[in-house]
Amino acid sequence: MNRSASMNGILLVAAREIRQILKMKSFWLTLLILPVAFALGPIFTETLNDDEPTRVAVVDRSGGGAAEALEARFAMEDTQWLLRDLSRYVQRYDLESADPEAPWAQFDRWYTGADIAAFEAAGGLDAALAKIDAVRPEGVPEFEADAPDYAFAPAPAALASAQGDAFGDEARALFDADDDTAPEIVVLIGETYPEDPRIQLFSADQPRGSFVSTMQEVLTVDLRARLLAAQGVSPAEAAAVQSAAPVIAVDTPPPGGGARETLLVRSIVPLALAYILMMSLMLSGSWMLQGSVEERSNKLLESLLACIRPEDLMYGKLLGSLTVGLLMILVWGACAGVAAYATQGAIADLIRPALEPVSSPGIIAAILFFFIAGYILISALFVAIGAMVDSMSEAQGYLMPVLLLILLPITFLIQAILAGNSGWMVQVLTWVPLWTPFTVMARLGMGIEWWEMVGSGILLAVTIVLELVLIGRLFRASLLSTGQKPSLKKIVERFRGTPA
């Protein structure tokens, strides 16, 4: 048979496979589920994130400065977060020139009380934004400050005057009132404080641990200061004792967030690639399997085989499946691109470091190779199953072990890579052709030796050639033998190409 007629047949079969899959509702559903899920994700987190500050009322009957101390401490923490956000914003858009000396123009540091004081002294957020606006180029979005976590307000009069058990009842009544201005947390400092060091905390919901521990810290400092004063220690000495603390120096590799975080970011795209390869393979593979089963159960194989060589039919199916898979990934990629564009670079900023390990031409070529090779390798297994079964339920019997064989090690692999582990198991998975495509792609983020990549790639290619020859024989021998399930001996005979 001449080459062009053979190619013509392969392309026709592939085109038909693609058309058949594009007609399926399940194809469009799965194609859309991923982008929709990603689009809905941020919306959900937005909704779940309570942007409103938690309203806190402190009733201080002891007459001391505990309430003010609390309020000041939470305000300081909010400012600290604000400074962090602002410095990230400045770093992202290269706006340091607004005021190189300002704390928010210095990155990778934990802002201290002194920084906060300097920031406040320089006019706080408004003054900083005014400086930034002066140098902010067109197209860079304005800085949006997050709402503070806690808002302090005086207690309603009814609550402030309530005594004894009535206080608690009053607080709970306020929580139940569903009033948008009523406090959600009420802190009661009794008249006899600090002789009676009990503090009562009423909360509408389970209070956040950070709130309670910060409150405890502030009140402890206050309490100890009072106790020290009662012992005759001067306030200056007391403050010195209280602020004595070891200096903890933290040393992490640059940039900033530490090695583990960097590794995670760098592995996001490679892991996603391995995962998407797996996903689209499972999908297009099972669609192709459905097609093969239809051809067998509808008895139309014989008509097909009168027109086309079994090998060409197999190649056509593989090509069709590969095309559908790449099409899905193209659509998903396009959705990601649109999302990155639509969010004005917020996602792009996240993606930039993530894309770094996969952006050289050599690596892109390697990704393409391993992706396509992986597709052919696994799809051919589906073809082999399709050639042997008469019904979809029979196909499941073969499918389950194959899927487990592929999926289980990959689940371990992804965990191992997330844990920054490149131990013997990852090595083994790299060199077993069935898992090579997934492992190599997933390892791109951690860095993989070029010889490992080339070596495992060659091994993979050789395996695929062998696989196609064997499965081609199996395909030819199995196509027309319907009825009994082939025994293992039969299958081996078919692999050997014993003439049917």
Partner: protein
């Protein structure tokens, strides 16, 4: 030159002899019947001609060369077990098969629409196969085998499962193909179709040939039976194998049932009678039907043969 030439063809499956030293040839314009039960090796032989399976030994020449997909564009094939893609429309199915046979889309579409019109399905061209009745789908499948105007048309049990109207339609298509010079091979175990259509036929039993020749030759292979009324004893006439006299009718006339020796034409016996002055009042010639020939040569009823052989094969 023959369109198809098969010589000494042998096919073995796991030690089971499916086709045993089979030789035959089919000429252009000829309608060739392939008769035998389901396990007789008809389908196996056709698959070898199509290069779907390979012979154990022997030789096949299709259009003067070995079987292979290079012949696809000149072959039409309708398998015994029929089916199409349920989600594809009738015309798309025909175009798909036309293109697999090397046609361009335009020609395949035009020929496909012509065929659908002829099969009274023009208005269903865009219907999905899955929405059609079984009879309609079978006609679409017939169209897929005819779309390329094949020079060799092979139909495996084409009449099975067709209603009488569609059987008539199929007979017309077979005659039409033969008239334009195509060689038509069809297998069947329904003798009436073979009797009506075949120029030549081949009887298969367990993979080996029992008979090959024209319908007349097939009939002649069985002894003819005739009933004659005469006063003389007809049992001693040359060529008569056996004779039984019936009851006397009147005035010494008797009805004789005569069984002739194989290959002896009834005309020879009649000639002998007239030449020898044997007066005859009745001369009824009963030619053996193809059914009789089949039963005699294959040794079983053709309709039941399929099942019996299938069980053996299984």
């Amino acid at each position: 030159m023959s369109v198809l030439e098969v010589s000494n063809l042998v096919k073995r499956f796991d030690g089971v002899l499916a086709v045993d030293d089979l030789s035959f040839s089919v000429a252009p314009g000829e309608i060739f019947g392939f008769l035998g039960g389901n396990g007789a090796g008809k389908t196996t032989t056709l698959r070898m001609v199509l290069d779907i399976i390979r012979p154990t030994s022997g030789n096949i020449q299709v259009f003067g060369s070995a079987p292979g997909r290079r012949n696809t564009q000149a072959i039409g094939f309708l398998p015994e077990e029929r089916g199409l893609y349920a989600g594809m429309s009738a015309i798309d199915t025909i175009i798909y098969f036309g293109r697999l046979k090397g046609m361009d889309t335009g020609t395949a579409r035009r020929r496909g629409m012509d065929l659908l019109a002829r099969f009274d399905l023009a208005d269903r061209a865009k219907s999905d196969i899955g929405d059609m009745s079984k009879g309609m789908a079978q006609k679409v499948q017939l169209a897929t085998s005819l779309v390329n105007d094949p020079e060799l048309l092979m139909l495996d049990e084409p009449f099975s499962g067709l209603d009488p109207v569609n059987q008539g339609l199929l007979e017309n298509e077979i005659l039409r193909a033969s008239e334009r010079g195509a060689a038509v091979i069809f297998s069947t175990h329904v003798m009436q179709h073979a009797e009506r259509l075949c120029d030549r036929l081949l009887l298969l039993k367990k993979g080996s040939k029992r008979f090959e020749g024209t319908l007349e030759e097939a009939r002649a292979a069985l002894p003819a039976r005739l009933i004659a009324s005469a006063k003389e004893d007809l049992s001693r006439i040359p060529g008569v194998a056996r004779a039984a006299s019936g009851d006397g009718i009147e005035d010494g006339w008797h009805d004789w049932t005569l069984y002739l020796e194989p290959g002896v034409p009834a005309a020879d016996v009649l000639e002998h009678c007239t030449a020898n002055g044997i007066a005859l009042r009745r001369w009824d010639e009963h030619k053996p039907s193809l059914h009789d020939v089949f039963v005699r040569m294959v040794g079983e009823d053709p309709a039941g043969a399929g099942k019996a052989n299938q069980e053996i094969a299984a």
